[in-house]
Every structure is written in C-alpha cells, then in structure tokens.
C-alpha cells in the first residue's frame, strides 16, 4: 500500500509538472515574448501602393536583353516605391527582421529567356546583403537544380555564401492539408526560410491562364501535376493562402522585361515580346497578378488573339485569391503607381 501511495504521489507530481509546462505555452497565460511572434509578416508602412510598375525604354532595347545597370535601376526604383523607402536597400530592410533567412523563389521552368534573369536576381541579392542579411541567409531556390542551371542561376553568379538550392527531391515528407488538396512541401520552405521573396515572370500558361506570382508556388509542393485541372482553380489561390507561404511572403517581383502572351508556360519565342518592365508589390500578391494579367491581355488584343476568357482560360483562381483575403483583383480598386 505504501508503494502504491508513493507511486500515486510521483505520478501526480509528474502530471502537475506536465500541465504547468503545457499551460506556460498557451499564449493566454504566458507572458508576451520579445520580438513578437516568430514568422509573422513584417508590416509595411500604411499608405503604400498595392502595385508598382517600372517600365523603361532601356529595358526594351536589344529585343529585351538590356544591360545589368538598366535592370538594376528599374528594379531598384520599383522596390523603393513599393516599400516607401529612399532606396531598395532601405526598402528591403524594412520588410525583414534581424535573423531572417530569406528565400527567393524563382520560376526557371522555361529556361533562359523566360525565367527571372540572372542580373535581376543578382541586383536583389546585392541589396539584401547590403540590408544586412548574411550571405548564408539568402537562399535562391526553385524546384530543380537542372532548371536553375538552365536559367543561369548558378552559385558562381552570386556573392560567396549565397545558396542556390534546387528542391529536387528534398521535401518534408509529411503530407499537409491545404484548401481542397494536400501536399508535401519543400524542406527549404518548411525548415529554413523565414521570409520569402517571390520572383516570377510575366507569361501565359496553357492551363492556369497565366503564370505570374501566385502560380509560382506550385514549385514548392511535391505534386503540382495533381492541381492542373479546372484551370488550376481554386488550387493556386488556396496554396498561396497556406500559412507557410502567406505568413512568410514579404515581396513579389515579376520580371516582365521579356514577357510571353501565348504558348506558355514553356518559352515560345513566337509569342514573347520585350514589354520592358518589372511589377512589384510589398503588400498585395493578388494585385501584382491582376496587373500582370492586364499586360498579357493587352498584348493578346494587339496580336489579335482571343482573350483568355474567350479561350476559357481566364484565371478563376485570381478572384478566389481575393475572396480568401490575399489581396485585390479588381483593377479599379488597385492602387497602382509607376516608378
């Protein structure tokens, strides 16, 4: 009997200790933590535009193969304007927290000529480093090493320490439910990066209508091929709304120096043209895509092509993204400025 009583006493203490430990983790009872919630998005200053467009004649030169300086100038102006800062370095600094590991998601499926151009990515990386992010805390990533290489995104093109990561087969092999579907997510996204910069391109997509910023997140899941029916809707919207992405996203950049109005997502030179600009937002990933969509639809009109709606390829996931509260899809309500 004495042994039983002792056992009960020990078990009771253990239980009490466990309960106390658990309660301490409950926000209602725990004290506030320094630095706020880890992983929460940095809040851009109020009054910022939803979208900034920077087009330059210099970017249209040489059929869309401008010099690095012209690219740097346009992107820098757009980031500064999108963040309300005096320059892109200060702008990026305002979006990040000390210690952030910044993941730059690229879209290199189409190879060189219709992927984020290396000089644009280089400018972004340089400013991140100037903003105080250590080189090893900058990760340029996409779904495969091969595609990164084909787009010219190789370690040698960036300062020492900056990591270029092809996801290849490196997923966190725990299926996670998101919206109407479920996937395993890239480990680099799950385990490493705390802040995301999404760098897409302005291009047509055979099934999704367009592939701009939101669609680029298909590259972080193991099973994107399962999400292509029904025009990728509502999958694109729900994936972008998944907390792993939504809560880490700080900036969206679309490389539209060369854009493609038809025949995507692969590069089809017949349908590319030097639009000569970049589209940037620090506040609204939906408005960025709505703006990119307008660019493509205008070009299709110029070429005498039917609209995406007429081809039954209108991106229905865009209004769905707005409905989910990710941003604005109505052009009339988007605060767009030029830089």
């Amino acid at each position: 009997m004495a042994i039983d009583r002792e056992r009960r006493r020990v078990l009771g203490k253990l239980l009490a200790g466990t309960l106390a430990g658990w309660l301490a983790r409950v926000p209602l009872l725990a004290g506030p933590r320094a630095g706020g919630r880890k992983g929460a998005p940095a809040r851009p200053a109020a009054g910022l535009p939803d979208v900034v467009v920077a087009r330059r004649k210099a970017l249209q030169a040489k059929g869309g193969a401008p010099g690095a300086e012209a690219v740097r100038e346009a992107l820098g102006a757009a980031i500064a304007r999108a963040t309300g800062a005096k320059d892109p370095v200060a702008g990026l600094a305002s979006l990040l927290r000390p210690g952030d590991v910044v993941g730059v998601k690229l879209n290199c499926l189409a190879g060189r000529g219709l992927s984020p151009r290396p000089e644009l990515v280089r400018a972004l990386v340089d400013w991140l480093l100037e903003a105080g992010v250590a080189p090893r805390r900058v990760i340029l990533f996409d779904r495969s090493t091969r595609e990164l290489r084909r787009a010219g995104i190789v370690p040698g093109a960036f300062p020492a320490g900056v990591r270029v990561v092809g996801i290849d087969n490196d997923y966190d092999w725990t299926p996670r439910e998101w919206g109407p579907s479920g996937s395993c997510f890239a480990r680099v996204l799950v385990r490493e990066v705390s802040a995301l910069v999404n760098v897409g391109v302005v291009k047509d997509h055979d099934l999704a209508g367009v592939s701009l910023g939101l669609k680029n997140w298909y590259g972080v899941i193991h099973n994107p091929n399962k999400m292509h029916d029904d025009g990728c809707s509502p999958y694109v919207a729900h994936l972008a709304a998944y907390p792993l992405i939504r809560e880490k996203l700080r900036l969206t950049i679309l490389d539209g120096i060369v854009a493609q109005a038809h025949g995507g997502p692969a590069r089809s030179p017949r349908w590319t043209w030097p639009w000569g600009g970049v589209i940037v937002s620090a506040t609204d990933p939906v408005a960025v895509d709505a703006t990119g969509l307008r660019v493509i639809e205008e070009r299709r009109r110029e070429l005498g092509l039917p609209s995406l709606a007429e081809e039954k390829r209108a991106p229905r996931w865009l209004p769905e993204a707005a409905r989910l509260g990710l941003g604005r899809d109505d052009p009339a309500r988007i605060r767009l400025v030029e830089a």
Binding site: D168, E177, L207, H222, H228, G263
Partner: protein
Amino acid sequence: MSTREDRREFLASLLAGGCAACLLSGACGIDPALAQDAASGASLIPPTDSDLPLTPARWWKPLDGGRVECGLCPKKCRVADMERGMCGVRENRGGKYWTLVHSRPCTIHIDPIEKKPFYHVLPGTGSLSLAAPGCNIECRFCQNWQIAQVRPEQVRTFELRPGQVVALARKHRTPTIACTYTEPVVWSEYVQDIGAAAKKAGVRTLLVSNGFINEEPLRDLLPVLGAVKIDLKSFRDRFYRDVCHGELRPVLDTLRRLKKHGTWTEIVVLVIPTLNDSREEFRDLAKFVVNELGPETPVHFTRFHPSFRLRNLPRTPVRTLEIAHDIARKEGLWFPYVGNVPGHPYNSTYCPGCGAMVIQRTGMAVLENRLKNGRCPRCGHEIPGIWS
C-alpha cells in the same frame, strides 16, 4: 474474465496493426534478393530528373501550338510543352509525348497472390509484383502514396526491361507477374511490353488497377492480361470526385468491358467509415455486380486503415464489413469476402452450391485448398476462377 477478454482484444489489435504495418511497408522498396537479381546488368538510378529515361508514349495525339492530348485515361490531359499530365509520369517535350517510367520500377517483391488480392487465381502461389511510380487519380486514403502520389524523380527507380522482369519471374518460379502497388494504367506501355514478353514465356500478367482507363488502351492491354483486379473506390460519383479526384462512370465502363472480353476480374471495395459504408451503397454496388458482371465476380470488402491525407477516421469496424458481405450475398453475389481482417471466416471461399468451405484462408495465407479440378469436392459445383 473481462480482463482476459480485454487482453485478447488488445493482443489481437496489436497483431492486426503489426500485420497492417508489414503490408504497408511491403509495398514500398525492393526485395533485397530481387534487387540483387535485377541489378545484374543494370544499376540503381540516382533520383534526379535529368536522368529520367524517355520512351515514346502510346495513346496520345498532337494538338496545335505544340500541345498534346493524352488518350490514356478519362482525364484526357491537355499538356503544353515541358509539362506533364496529372499522373506526373508522362511529359510533353517539343510537341511529342513521352513516358518517363518505362522499365523503371521503384518496387519489386514476390507476394502471395492473395495480397493483390486475387482469391480465384492460382491460390497459394507467389506473384512477382512490381510498380513504377505514379497514379492518375489522388485518393486521400492512398495506402502507397510514397510511390503512387509522387513524380518519378522523387523515388529511387532502377532499370528493369520487360524481358528481365519475365526472367525474374521464371527464375523465382512465380506463375504470374502482378503490375500493382501504384496505378499501372499510367505505365501502360511498360505493362503491355511485360505482358507480351510474359505471354510468350507462359507467365500470366495481372493488373491491379483503379480501372480509370480509356477504351482504346484497355483494348490494347487485354490480350496480354491474365486477370484484373479493380479497386472500386465507391459506388457514388460524389465520393470519386471529392475523395479521389476521379469519376465513377469510367470505372464501371471498364468493368463492363472486362466482363465482355471475358477477362477474369475481381473487385475490391475499401470500406471507409462514414464515407462509403452505407447499406444503400453496398446494396447498389452488389446489384450492379450481379446484374452487369455476374454473380460469380468476387468482391472483397476490405478494412480501411488511416493513411496519407485521411488520418482522422478510425479503422473500419469489422461488423461493417460483415454487413457489406451479408448484403452482397443477399443480393445474389456468390463470392463476397472480408479483407484486411486476418482469420475472419469470410476470408475463405465457400461453394455457392452446397455452402462447403472449398478454400480455407487466413488473411493472405491459404490453409487448405480442397478444390478438385476447380470444383467443390462435396457437390461438384464448378467454382469459377483460374486454378491451373
């Protein structure tokens, strides 16, 4: 007394869980002995997409603008250049369509044929069972999702030509080769070539499939198939759409075509609590099988275990499976079974003529086969199936 019963129940559940774990783990990977065999003349292929082999796909047509339309399954994916169909294993490159998984299995084992399950095909024999990656639907409860719901570059595969598959079967004296574990429809080119080589060697090829395949490719496969098992996920289209990303009608069409062709077919219904376990559904399903496929068609009602994206539901109560069995029998089916419940009396085959037990099983093991030339030893009733 009650403590003793509790203990028994606990031990039984442990045993069942252990068996289930073994079964699940058994679906992924390579039997070491077979891997060694397979590796002679071939080496393990590193899992990078740059190394994926390209074999011309069959059953597709070109569209404008370099796009293609896949004709393999009812999805009829329209695939742009550099993109893949929903299965993730067929890719458009420059306006031509390719399969990335021909001769690249990711899994190979010798299983009891009862594991497929085939209960009326050569009972008690082993079946050389292999899979290449991929699937054309996406069941939330997929038991083999690590190889079925992935792209081929995401699993380790190795080279094994159809002739090598047949040679392995002969070496290990398995009378059948089962294309199983994932969805063989998406690697139909490989299945067709294995089947042709196996047929020449006197080995039967078995297809373990969801039945989500178009008429033309099925017609091309049938001549090389010895028997087919179809996973009928539910008898409700809504279930197919909501839970499997598929459709019911094409699966029923496949079953009718198999019947018309005379291919031996068995059906498995994985019964999932609250999703496809109503009496009305069991009844409708049984009526369809009796009326359109024939009462001799075996139907296995099997037990669900939480898996993949469906982990919030419990295992199927055994009683539910018994109800399904009883309804099926009442509707006129001769051979309803209860599966994934080792030791259950409904694992065994009973003569529809006199009720005698003709094949006694526990789970995947045949304890006794009393058939005499495919007939009941007591009343002489013919038991349909492939027995020799």
